[in-house]
Symmetry: C2
Subunit: 268 residues, 2 copies
Amino acid sequence: MHFRREWHPPEVVGHRCLTRGLSDIAAMGGEPVAAFLSLALPRDLPQKWVGRFLTGLLALADQFKVPLAGGDTAQSPNGILADILVLGSVPRGKAILRSGARPGDRIYITGELGEAAAALDLMFSGRKLRPEDYPRHFHPLPRITLGRYLRQKNLASAMIDISDGLSTDLKHICEESSVGAEIRDYAIPRARMGKTGHKLELKYALHGGDEYELIFTARPERKVPSKIAGVAITEIGRITRGREMISINASGKRSRLRAEGWQHFASR
Amino acid sequence: MHFRREWHPPEVVGHRCLTRGLSDIAAMGGEPVAAFLSLALPRDLPQKWVGRFLTGLLALADQFKVPLAGGDTAQSPNGILADILVLGSVPRGKAILRSGARPGDRIYITGELGEAAAALDLMFSGRKLRPEDYPRHFHPLPRITLGRYLRQKNLASAMIDISDGLSTDLKHICEESSVGAEIRDYAIPRARMGKTGHKLELKYALHGGDEYELIFTARPERKVPSKIAGVAITEIGRITRGREMISINASGKRSRLRAEGWQHFASR
């Protein structure tokens, strides 16, 4: 459910497939060790599609020095199915989990949000997009270096990637840490869209997924750099004792923040 | 394409899924280290089905002391999809490959063949089978202990499991070893069927898949036991210099053996 053949060139599908696996390693501060790929392909799929898919996937694997170490192929009754598995390692006890946030921790996000979901919306409305204009949608990069830095410096108390959307993934941290959260919605850095350069609507930044930026929390006394590995880090709120997620707007109005992370292609 | 919900209880599907992954480790003489499972499930699948699937899979994992170490779940547009990945280890350079057969090597198979494919045929013809009567179909066991023994004793020059059928999997050895093979078809031990106890037709033993028995080759001077880990070992032929596969019947008639390993559910 993560791509459409008419919108996404095979290289992009391969790239995005591996990004998804690498991003889960990044979100724990891990080092990727090896990737495994299983493909189920319809009988009539041109071999060329598979070759180009692998070209995209292997280029990214090469960039992060992750060997493609195995996998499987099968026939699919309909549709292309790709299952990526990435093994990663961290020193024992050093993985950054979802469950380490405590009341008072500050909440940070990496990069700028919303472009991936907004690009998808444009394509659903019939627009044809050029991959080079929407790199966060077509060529998202897993935040491996950034995640490793946070782990090495013991900076993050909890972390997750934003593959399901900020509101939904923040909720995962809240649930597994048994805490709540307050975020200042106006503080969330929103991507500027394509060549037009206008800032995206808040909903995309708040609920759009498929992003591969990271949300993390840190104890209030820890000094978190404003940039790590070339990526901007922004404080957007704090962890609270209550179990609710609250969003505060620029006028100070507080409202309940619901996990409305997008179901991407599923809901259309 | 490896099961049908109306024929296979969920526990059986889980068991067979992991057998498939473990069998590939067995076929290299490896030790299974960890299993990873990805499931894509239709929205309307009862949670109970998933629970019973995992019960079957975890019972087998427990038997071989393999932890289920990770995986992923996703929604499937139609049908249940399970992707199993098993990591295994062998001492460096000791994996038994498909490419090690040499002319003159003897060809051996483990166990008795054909029951899995024959049981499938019965079900296609409308018969309802009781899993306990057809254990090789419903509860096949990966030959981990046997494969490990062959590796530790340096007995096998090449090996593969019979998941695609003897003729097709023997061809994989021939191609990757750049050799041919001659087998005595009457020497292949055929399973006796269900409660009736009649010996299966040759075609099932020769081309039936989904078996998880092993074919291996050994240098002619090596003494191969007639039983390993409680499983019968039978010599059925030898590796030749020519690239062809030849089948010899009880009257000495030679014919070309084609890789006709069954496509299981695909071809019906």
